[in-house]
């Protein structure tokens, strides 16, 4: 798991913890658990929501750590401005990743689905929650192998990324088609910028 601070946000939103899991075997039950937790009532519901209070992101659609961090930044920024389009800062990260404004489409594509095998898990919180606690809670929710973020490049499904961002016919991609590494860098550049400017994409 890696942790960093967002230096200029209010304390309760200043710590970001993120981990990458591969070989995830329980994504279908995890998804059902999330859906059930969102509507559970009473103190048991509160406890359950607390246990799954993370952003579960489809790792094959993340092109780089910068991509992930840009979405986290814009989601937290929206939270500080009272401008969330979704219910929590964690669902807002998923919304920020998706190029369109359709929330259920964002969850379907960029959230955990029954077939997900690699997940990025993110928690935005205050310094009161220790790194160890967050890591323990994450490990308790996801059944998989935790790997360093350097593995992310091997997981990215570039064809799906290009499709969702409608990059197939773009001049930038055509120019780079002979050099796969270069093409990936171009796609990442466009995707990161799209996420950063989503609030004004109009």
């Amino acid at each position: 798991m890696e942790s960093y601070q967002l230096l200029h946000f209010p304390p309760h939103l200043s710590c970001v913890h993120a981990a990458l899991y591969t070989n995830v075997s329980d994504s279908d039950s995890l998804r059902k658990r999330l859906v059930a937790a969102s509507t559970a009532e009473g103190p048991a519901g509160e406890r359950e929501r607390d246990a799954v209070n993370f952003s579960f992101i489809e790792a094959r659609l993340i092109t780089s750590v910068k991509h992930l961090r840009t979405a986290v930044y814009q989601a937290v920024l929206a939270e500080t401005q009272g401008a969330l389009r979704t219910k929590t800062v964690h669902s807002e990260i998923i919304w920020a990743l998706n190029p369109t404004n359709n929330i259920s489409e964002a969850m379907r594509r960029y959230g955990v689905s029954d077939t997900s095998t690699a997940l990025v898990v993110v928690r935005v919180c205050g310094p009161d929650l220790s790194t160890e606690t967050v890591e323990r809670d994450m490990d308790a929710v996801v059944k998989g192998t935790k790997v360093p973020f350097t593995e992310l490049q091997q997981l990215t499904d570039w064809a799906a990324v290009k499709k969702y961002h409608k990059l197939g016919g773009e001049a930038a991609i055509r120019d780079a088609k002979d050099d796969i590494e270069h093409e990936h860098a171009i796609v990442d550049g466009i995707v990161v910028s799209s996420v950063a400017m989503k609030s004004v994409s109009g």
Binding site: T70, Q81, S193, V200, G202
Partner: protein, 257 residues
């Protein structure tokens, strides 16, 4: 200060200030591996009604970000977008390590000093660091503007100050012979247009900037135009003809008649 973006600005280093915006160097997170970004803050204008000020600022931040994304998609070298806070008028973009073309060409280095005598050898030295002949640099300029115009983006303020060369040490060049890359910056006055007139005026503005900044600029700009013409293909004929017209009458079209 209650806004996160204003706190971010307070912690950043001021690079320069214009009438419309202040520019800072900033970091978004505590992680040392996170690269620095450039923040452009369109600060509040006290001389405008607050409501009008807010909507103008929002529209301009949005416009600049959209133009950058459009250019990225079209394969034009521009800085990537890193964060947007339209409500506060803050746009965060990729930090380009390098130097403006203005300072790399003869005449552009001594911007504020009057010791113009030694500026030419300095510019030549600087260009050597980037390992690019002047003519190759002019071709890059022509190609990049052509790519931008083919995407129907009009820059609106083309000058040699609004173009940068990436420092060879800051990135991995894909070019077979060049170790640098030309990046167009400052899309604050840009807009979308497919009109021949707007493209011709864009070129004319650059031509005037060349001749007012760099001595003996005619062969330089001619070289820019040749590369532009080559890249534009069939679209060039109409733009070239219109550029002749614009040279005769100036940037503004006459309102008479």
């Amino acid at each position: 200060m209650t806004s996160a973006s204003l706190d971010l600005i307070l912690a950043s280093t001021l690079i320069s200030q214009g009438a419309e915006a202040k520019v800072y160097k900033a970091k978004l997170s505590s992680d040392p591996s996170d690269s620095e970004i450039l923040l452009k803050h369109r600060f509040r204008k006290g001389y405008r009604h607050p409501t009008l000020d807010g909507s103008l600022t929002r529209a301009r931040v949005a416009g600049e970000a959209r133009a950058l994304l459009k250019c990225l998609r079209a394969g034009v070298n521009v800085p990537g977008v890193r964060m947007v806070d339209a409500a506060e008028g803050v746009l965060g973009i990729e930090w380009i390590h390098g130097q403006s073309v203005r300072k790399l060409l003869p005449g552009g280095a001594g911007e504020d000093e009057d010791a113009s005598g030694d500026s030419e050898p300095e510019a030549a030295d600087a260009l050597r660091e980037y390992d690019i002949p002047v003519d190759a640099l002019m071709q890059l300029i022509g190609q990049e503007i052509a790519k931008m115009h083919l995407a129907d983006v009009i820059h609106g303020d083309l000058t040699t100050s609004n173009m940068m060369l990436r420092h060879p040490s800051s990135f991995k060049s894909r070019h077979p012979t060049l170790s640098t890359e030309l990046v167009l910056i400052d899309f604050g006055l840009s807009f979308h247009s497919s009109l021949v007139e707007d493209k011709a005026v864009d070129l004319y503005v650059l031509e005037r900037a060349f001749s007012s900044t760099h001595p003996d600029s005619e062969p330089l700009f001619a070289s820019v135009l040749r590369a532009y013409e080559q890249r534009m293909g069939k679209d060039w004929a109409a733009i070239g003809r219109r550029l002749e017209d614009v040279r005769m009458r100036g940037r503004k079209r006459s309102m008479v008649g």
